[in-house]
Symmetry: C2
Subunit: 162 residues, 2 copies
C-alpha cells in the first residue's frame, strides 16, 4: 500500500472543515473540539498549513485561521505537498540521486513521469470536491479490479493484521 502520513489525512480533514465554515475564523482549540483531534497535533498541522500558504493566520486574542483561497482552487496535491513535502514516490527523485544505483538506474528518469502522473491526479481533485458527499456522477470513476487487492502479499513477518 502506498502510504501517506496520518497527519496529512488529518490535514485534509481540517482543511475540509474550515472550507465548510469559511465565514468564521477558527482557532486551534475550536478545531480540535470540532474534529476531535488532539489539540497539540491540530496546532502542529495548522502551523504547517499556514506556512505552506494554504491558511492565513492571525495572532493574538481572537486570532485564528482562515482559508487563504477559494476551495475550488486548492487542490489535494497542494495540501499533501504542504504537509509531506514534494510529491514523489521515490527518494532519489527529490534528493538528486545520491544512491549508488545510478549505473543501473535508467529507471530513474522514468520515475519523474510516474511522479508527475500521480501529482496531476492529485492536483485535479480540489478541496471543493471533498465537500460534496459524492461526486461519482460528475467524474468517471473506475474502481480498480479486486484482483489487484487480492494479489498483495505481505513483505513483513507473520501476519498482515488487516
Amino acid at each position: 500500500m502506498l502510504r501517506m502520513g496520518k497527519l496529512t489525512d488529518y490535514g485534509i480533514v481540517l482543511m475540509s472543515y474550515i472550507a465548510e465554515h469559511r465565514s468564521k475564523q477558527h482557532s486551534a482549540h475550536m478545531l480540535s473540539d470540532a474534529v476531535h483531534m488532539p489539540l497539540p497535533t491540530v496546532r502542529k498541522i495548522l502551523k504547517v498549513l499556514s506556512a505552506g500558504g494554504l491558511l492565513t493566520s492571525e495572532r493574538g486574542a481572537q486570532g485564528g485561521y482562515i482559508l487563504s483561497g477559494d476551495p475550488a482552487d486548492i487542490s489535494v496535491a497542494q495540501i499533501i505537498t504542504a504537509i509531506e513535502g514534494p510529491i514523489a514516490l521515490t527518494e532519489c527523485v527529490s534528493s538528486a540521486s545520491q544512491c549508488d544505483q545510478e549505473t543501473h538506474c535508467a529507471v530513474q528518469t522514468n520515475w519523474n513521469q510516474i511522479n508527475n502522473a500521480v501529482f496531476h491526479a492529485l492536483d485535479e481533485v480540489k478541496l471543493a470536491d471533498m465537500l460534496t458527499p459524492t461526486l461519482s456522477a460528475a467524474r468517471p470513476v473506475q474502481f480498480y479490479p479486486p484482483s489487484y487487492r487480492a494479489k498483495a502479499v505481505s513483505l513483513q513477518d507473520g501476519d498482515q493484521h488487516e
Copy 2:
C-alpha cells in the same frame, strides 16, 4: 513527500533488469550481483514478486525467475501492489474505516476517487516504458511547478536534511 518503501523501488529495478534480459532465467544470486543489492533483500523481493504472480519461479538447481508476462502488459501499479499491497493513500480506505472520525469523514468517500486517480496514473506506466531511457516525446509530460516544491515545510523537528 508521498512515500513508497525502498523495497518497492528495488522491486522495480529488479523487474526492469529481468525484463531487459528476458531470454535467461535469473537466480537471486545473479541478480544480486548484477544490480548490486544485498542478496537476502533480493531474495525477499523476488519471493514476493513471484507470489504476486509477476514472476514465475523454478526451484532446485539451475532454477530461478523469469517474467510471467510481457513487459508491455506489466504495469508499475502491479509491481507496487505486489510489494506494498493495495494502492491507497490513507489507511481508512483499505481497512474498512476503524477510525473514530467517521462522523466528520464525508471526506472518506472521496478518498476512493483520489486513490483511483493515482492507481490509474500508475497503471498506465508499463514495465516496457521503464526500459526506454526517456519517453518524453511519446507522452505529454508536464513537470509540476517548482513553487510546489518550494512551499513544502517540514513537519518534523529541526532540519529537513535534503
